[in-house]
Amino acid sequence: MRKLLICLATAILVVSLGIWCLGQELAENQVLKVASPDDDITGLDPFDFLGTSAEPMSRAIYEGLVRFNYGYVAVDKMEPALAESWEVSNDGLVWTFYLREGVQFHHGYGEFTAEDAKFSIDRLVEGNSRHAGDYATVAEIVVIDPYTLEFLLSEPNPFFLFTVGNFHGGSVVSKKAVEELGEGFRSMPVGTGPFEFKEWLSKEKVVLEGFDDYWRGEPILEGIEFIFMPDVNTRTLALESGQVDTATDVPDEEEWVQNMRDKGVIVDALGYDIPLLCHFNMTVEPLNDIRVRQALCYAISREDFVLFHGPSICKPQVSVLPPGMYASITEGIPPYEYDLEKARQLLSDAGYPNGFDLGTALSSVRDLYLDPLEIIQAQWAEIGVTFEINAVAHTEYHALIRQDLSPIVVYPGPRPTPDMIFTQYIHSDAIVGKETAITNFSHYGDVDCDGDGTIDSVDEYIELARSEVNTERQKALYAIAQLQTSLDVPVYPLRVLAAVQARQTWVDLGHVPYEGSYINGYAYTELTKILKH
């Protein structure tokens, strides 16, 4: 009788498990179709700048020593990947990684060892790659044995783990493959990730195949097709008709998001990734006067930006560091709340009671640049401040603004760490026109912002924070830098926009929940699957 009961119980268990599995049954076709937003990619070698469309491909092909905890935005939640574990010396200068054994490279390029990891970063630095700067604090990389690797740093780097993750330069390539293929590696990438490269038809698609020997286990997906679909309407219609499974860079408009959700498409508005700063060129009259800049700030209504995109995907940005980012603060930052009376008063104090004409401001023809500039143009007209907009081709725009040709520059730029934001937009080394120029359009750090006869700058705090390992002290340094910047008004933060992307209900990413990502585009892993639909 007892045996019978046990048998019965087992049978019930098996049947219900079966039914549960049936509900989760896989679709017959396990080739995932991804709508990529660009016309093409420039290649798949992590040595180069990859861009929006290639980043998700790169993450499927390559791995780093560590990886992001997929689905979260958190620098402090890195997971083991090619390294099983790691330790850091007390002074923060020696990082030792214990590597995983038996990891295979794609296309029969052999086993991964410490040599490959060392080579992957050495080649960036020696070849002066775009990512070389991320490794400026790395003095030497020492191979202790095939499975132990040591990084000797010249100074502590609190964001070090981030640079050996599977993003940008952290992707580990096969030394043998790079040496054999040379330039050809760009279109024949070899990594250790869950998917191996199959083909790249330019202006058409990139095809990846599941890598059977992947160390975490054979991927469920047979392959991924990244289809280049530069037209946003086509991406929308392809989603609606189910001809693609996921899409990135879809319209960042509330109406679109709602409409797609009503049609049964899952839309993820992830994190608040894309900050937007209005840079005032402080070498230009009358923007050199802090009262004028403050007046312009008071005349901007951030709420209009939020309304423009919709409150579910857009939030006001008050500090240079976007909300939600490590070390971002709002307390104590003067918000310059929308107040036209105050704006007019400040303008007349500065000697412009009826406003002034700023001349011509440059914009890219892309909406991400042009829309906010048009909003500002309308808002400033209220206090008599006018300017013309000259919208030029995107490449041309990037060249022209670096020649100091626009009195204001509205620049959207997602950067993953506070250091990158400060170093690229605020530090005086980044001032356009200099040898070391990056994207400091305001000349902050080289000019007297408030008319007290001294040069104003936060360079010192940025540099100190860069190598401060104590997180409390580091946060304090960033807080000072944020406060000082907001008082000097070289830039005015406008809004942050969520990176919007969409997927079908039948796409199981294999990692839940999805709270955000540093990089635009979903992460596809060995666990990603297409459910029956």
């Binding site: 775009r130 330019s202 530069p230 086509t234 670096r402």
Partner: protein, 313 residues
Amino acid sequence: MLTYTVRRIAMVPIVLAIVVTIVFFAMRMVPGGPAYALLGSYASAEAVRQLEMELGLDRPIWEQYLTFLGDLVRGDLGTSIYNGRPVGPELMRAFPFTGALCLATIIWGVALGVPLGALTAIRRNSLWDYVGRVVSLVGLTVPPFYLAILLIVAFSLKLRIFPMIGGGELANPAEFLYHLFLPSLTLGIVMSAFVSRTVRAALLEVLSTDYVRTARSKGLREGTVLAKHAMRTALIPTVAFLGVYMTLLLGGAVVIEVVFSRTGWGRILVNAMKQRDYPVLQAGLMLFSAVVVAVNLIVDVIYTYIDPRIKYS
């Protein structure tokens, strides 16, 4: 005739040389080089300079020009700055997609446009004429990208008959044609509007000539008059129009290739322009001009066959 053709062919290299020279210098005069496009938005000035050095863009412009000409003479079209791939094979791979699109468009345009034009001319000032003219007016004014989206919504989203992504595979002709249907129909509808207007105007003119009256007065049936006498003459301007339209088609193809996510010359060229990919642009425009010259030559030759009055010397 033969000497004329030979002379025209001999002109081709000169035309191409002029085109590549203009393209070469014009491209380099526009601000923003390929380095900015490649390095992305946070490139430092130093990185831009270094990349320009690697690409040889820091050398004097005449030196760059001579190197380019030298490579060209050796048949080397260069390597794309953007994706590092040889330009020749890339353009060759995309050629069938654009070629088929243009050809299919012309077939649609003629198949839809000539009957429509003839109908509106023969039934002049009737309901047919008004409806036909309104239809062609719509074809003239609706932007191709909008028409493309309408067709996608109808055939791809609602009816789910035709695909909207990609150009299919060359190795599989059925699939290739299947993917060609909607894009070529879009451009074909636009083109048929132009064709029908040309045919209508020409046919109206011919129908009022003496020889048509003669044909009618000798008792020929109206169908014979139209088919054998009037249409043949009326089609002459249409053929001339096709030659001109071929060059416009590539412009229209860009939009269609983007909307349908197809590969093709239009998209390659526009992307190269945006990215300042000099080698692709130079080679692409040169080959494109070669195609234009060839098409015009063919049209001229066809002309002499359908219109015996024309003699080239």
